[in-house]
């Protein structure tokens, strides 16, 4: 479904991604873990070209989205993304946040989009907030809204960029519950950059450990968390799990 070939990314002199090749298959749930500055977020943001790779190729559903002249907007419609800082639209109501893209991009009529949005809001427990503006929502509610906004485009893959890192601790659970529910009920291909090790272990089919711009180790959650081979993985896990 997504195939990455020898991906490099430089920010000026800083070599952030140093040759990443990886494949994500249909319906797979993959967590990307690793220390800060290891390039995990940059890698995720390259997948929908929010960051332009310096070199390398990314194939999404067979199309090389790094090729010149490709209509990336078309492909992005199939790739939902959830951000660390929610990035909900403050000048739109909760309902409009969700219906905006499907209606503008003519995927749905306004009525269809609103009906679907209400169903989605129901699922994440925000139906009573439909007419509110985001500033009246808590962090956890904003992030649930952001997830629903992405799902409303009916994507083929969901990318989560540290979805709980900016949340107050008591709100982490509600957002993780929504992601868990989404994964179970939709079977969507999901890639999550996260610092929630317990969650990564529970939800993932595979875990990638990134360090210094490369995938240093990958495997099933049991392999990575239970029996890590790479000394850097061991060191990282011992730090975060014993914290």
């Amino acid at each position: 479904m997504i195939k990455v070939v020898d991906l490099h990314k430089n920010f000026g002199d800083l070599h952030v991604l140093k040759g990443i090749s990886e494949e994500f298959s249909q319906g797979e749930v993959v967590s990307i873990i690793g220390p800060s500055g290891s390039g995990k977020s940059t890698f995720l943001r390259c997948l929908n070209l929010l960051e332009t790779p310096t070199s390398g190729q990314i194939f999404f559903e067979g199309a090389d989205i790094t090729a010149k002249g490709i209509d990336i907007d078309k492909h992005r419609q199939k790739m939902g993304m959830v951000f660390q800082h929610f990035n909900v639209f403050p000048h739109k109501s909760v309902l409009e946040n969700i219906t905006l893209a499907p209606v503008l991009l003519k995927k749905k009529t306004k009525e269809e989009a609103q009906k679907q949005a209400m169903e989605l809001l129901q699922r994440v427990g925000l139906a009573d907030k439909a007419q509110e503006y985001p500033k009246r929502l808590s962090g956890g509610q904003k992030q649930r809204l952001a997830i629903v906004r992405a799902l409303a485009m009916e994507p083929d893959v969901m990318l989560f960029d540290e979805p709980t890192s900016a949340l107050d601790p008591e709100m982490v659970g509600e957002v993780l519950a929504v992601i868990r529910d989404m994964v179970r009920t939709t079977g969507l291909t999901t890639i999550i950059v996260t610092h929630e090790m317990g969650f990564a272990r529970e939800i993932s089919d595979r875990v990638l450990f990134m360090d210094e711009g490369v995938i240093a180790e990958k495997g099933t959650p049991q392999e990575i968390f239970g029996n890590p081979q790479n000394p850097r993985t061991k060191e990282f896990l011992s730090k975060v799990l014993n914290a």
Binding site: D73, R76, Q77, F83, H85, P90, A101, L105, A150
Partner: protein
């Protein structure tokens, strides 16, 4: 002195009001067209082809780096050479004011757009919106809230700067002052009246903008 000032104001009330009318007219025309051209400059600045971009940057830098009075003189002497029809003094002065204001307004707009969180554009693009749709639906509606109060302040600035038009006797408030000083040999009193009227205009407007700004903040 106070008695003379009050007398003068009462006697020449009509002239002062006419001068104030011209001042407001010049500020309104300038901000209106300044905003249109300022937006255009902003658009040119976002063109992908660098030499075109540099032209806009150079324009803004030069206009902001030279005195408005000089620009008015330049317009006053240069425009009649360039255009084939009769151009009044007022029109020359307005052209200079508009071209000057456009440079400042383009910076206001740019700053207003840049003040919108980068994550907003990323979220919109990640949903598949084009850069044009993102600008129109997500960035501009939020940037407007930063830009409108700044445009109000620009209007206040122009009210004051239009006084330079008195060098060309275009009829605004400072021209009225010059006329009265010349005719009556009174130096201080006409200045005091003009000063009070300018302050009345700018103070009232800045209070109005304050109210308007709080309204915008509420709907956030």
């Amino acid at each position: 002195m106070i008695a003379i000032t009050v007398d003068l104001f009462v006697k020449y009330f009509g002239m002062f009001m006419e001068g104030m009318g011209y001042t407001l007219y010049m500020a309104a025309i300038t901000v209106f067209f300044g905003t249109i051209f300022g937006t255009l400059i902003c658009l040119v600045r976002s063109v992908k082809f660098p030499p075109v971009r540099w032209l806009a940057v150079a324009y803004v830098e030069i206009v902001r780096g030279t005195p408005l009075l000089l620009q008015m003189y330049l317009a006053y002497f240069l425009l009649p050479e360039i255009v084939n029809f009769d151009i009044s003094k007022m029109q020359s002065v307005l052209v200079a004011l508009i071209m000057n204001s456009a440079a400042y307004v383009s910076e206001l707009i740019r700053a207003g757009i840049q003040a919108v969180d980068k994550g907003q554009a990323e979220a919109a693009r990640s949903l598949g919106l084009s850069s044009v749709l993102t600008m129109k639906e997500i960035i501009l509606p939020q940037a407007i809230k930063n830009i409108l109060p700044a445009l109000g302040n620009e209007f206040i600035s122009i009210i004051k700067e239009s006084s330079l038009g008195s060098s060309f006797f275009v009829g605004e408030l400072m021209t009225v002052r010059s006329l009265l000083t010349g005719a009556l040999y009174l130096t201080i009193e006409p200045l005091l009246i003009a000063g009070c009227l300018y302050f009345f205009l700018t103070f009232t407007l800045s209070k109005l903008i304050g109210v308007f700004e709080r309204r915008l903040a509420v709907s956030d």
